[in-house]
């Protein structure tokens, strides 16, 4: 498994952990303390910040005379970025259409919906990018390091 695969697997794990953890916390807190206070469980989304540690945890191996990032890697990264962008735009489109459908053209939505839209878009971007990268490289180790 090469460095990019390791980082994207880590990102995928962190995204799943923070999203699943925060949703679980909200559901748990909703039963314990009631609904408005239960939104505090979304604080676990802050775990997404751990993704910034990926490049530091999975460093390039030093002292070896070899190419760590070639044209193929660049192409895969660009394709993954495009997949992330497309997935995000589709998410935004679905989210906005859903809201429009539910409240009508003259309706209003709480202002925090904009933040949910933004955070959701970021999660979808990270998921789609990580998945696209892993699918292109392959899910398993193929001898690349």
């Amino acid at each position: 498994m090469n460095r990019a695969q390791k980082i994207e697997c880590f990102n995928l794990f962190v995204t799943a952990l923070s999203t699943g953890g925060s949703l679980g916390a909200v559901i748990l807190l909703a039963r314990l303390v009631g609904m408005p206070k239960a939104w505090a469980g979304m604080a676990l989304m802050g775990l997404m910040g751990l993704m910034a540690l990926g490049p530091f945890i999975f460093r390039n191996e030093k002292g070896r005379d070899r190419v760590a990032f070639d044209e193929r890697d660049m192409l895969i990264h660009k394709r993954a970025a495009s997949a992330g962008f497309i997935a995000t735009y589709v998410f935004f489109l679905t989210f906005c259409s859903g809201l429009l459908n539910s409240v009508g053209l003259n309706g209003q939505v709480p202002s925090y919906m904009l933040l949910i839209l933004l955070a959701g878009g970021f999660v979808v971007l990270m998921l789609a990018k990580a998945l696209a990268l892993i699918i292109q490289y392959g899910w398993r180790n193929k001898g690349e390091q």
């Binding site: 660009k78 970025a81 495009s82 962008f85 735009y89 935004f92 489109l93 989210f95 906005c96 809201l99 429009l100 409240v103 009508g104 053209l105 003259n106 309706g107 209003q108 939505v109 709480p110 202002s111 925090y112 919906m113 904009l114 933040l115 839209l117 933004l118 878009g121």
Partner: protein
């Protein structure tokens, strides 16, 4: 002028024309007269199909350089789309959070605005990399 340049120019002309027409109608009459004209933005999809047609006629008219330019222009569009989208979500939130809920029509405006900004940036990036005018290239 090659097909990518024609595509970029047609996008810029369609978007410019649509925004000008729509803005004029909104200023002179009312939003309900101007906003439907934004539907003209759909012509961007047709321009893509029109200028792609010649690629099927044989000959190499999309090589590694064209691919690199296309990918760079997409990267530029992605890079501008996200800061725009963050600003477009955070600013209404800052404005409306004290006064209450946000009108739902703001959401499609953000989405449409993001799409238009991405297409404009991609077209500008194509034209900047190839040059604004034809240099004898044909496709």
């Amino acid at each position: 002028m090659n097909s990518a340049q024609k595509f970029a120019w047609s996008n810029l002309i369609i978007i410019g024309l649509t925004l000008t027409l729509s803005g004029t109608m909104i200023l002179l009459f009312a939003p309900q007269h101007g906003i439907p004209l934004m539907g003209l933005l759909g012509l961007v999809g047709i321009s893509s199909a029109v200028f792609r047609k010649k690629r099927r006629q044989g000959g190499t008219n999309f090589d590694e350089r064209d691919r690199l330019i296309y990918e760079r222009s997409l990267t530029a569009a992605h890079s501008v789309f996200w800061p725009f989208f963050v600003a477009a979500c955070m600013l209404p939130w800052l404005v409306f959070r004290s006064s209450g809920p946000v009108p739902v029509y703001v959401l499609p405006m953000i989405l449409g605005g993001g799409g238009v900004v991405a297409i404009v940036v991609q077209s500008l990036a194509i034209l900047i990399q190839y040059g604004w005018r034809g240099k004898g290239e044909k496709s």
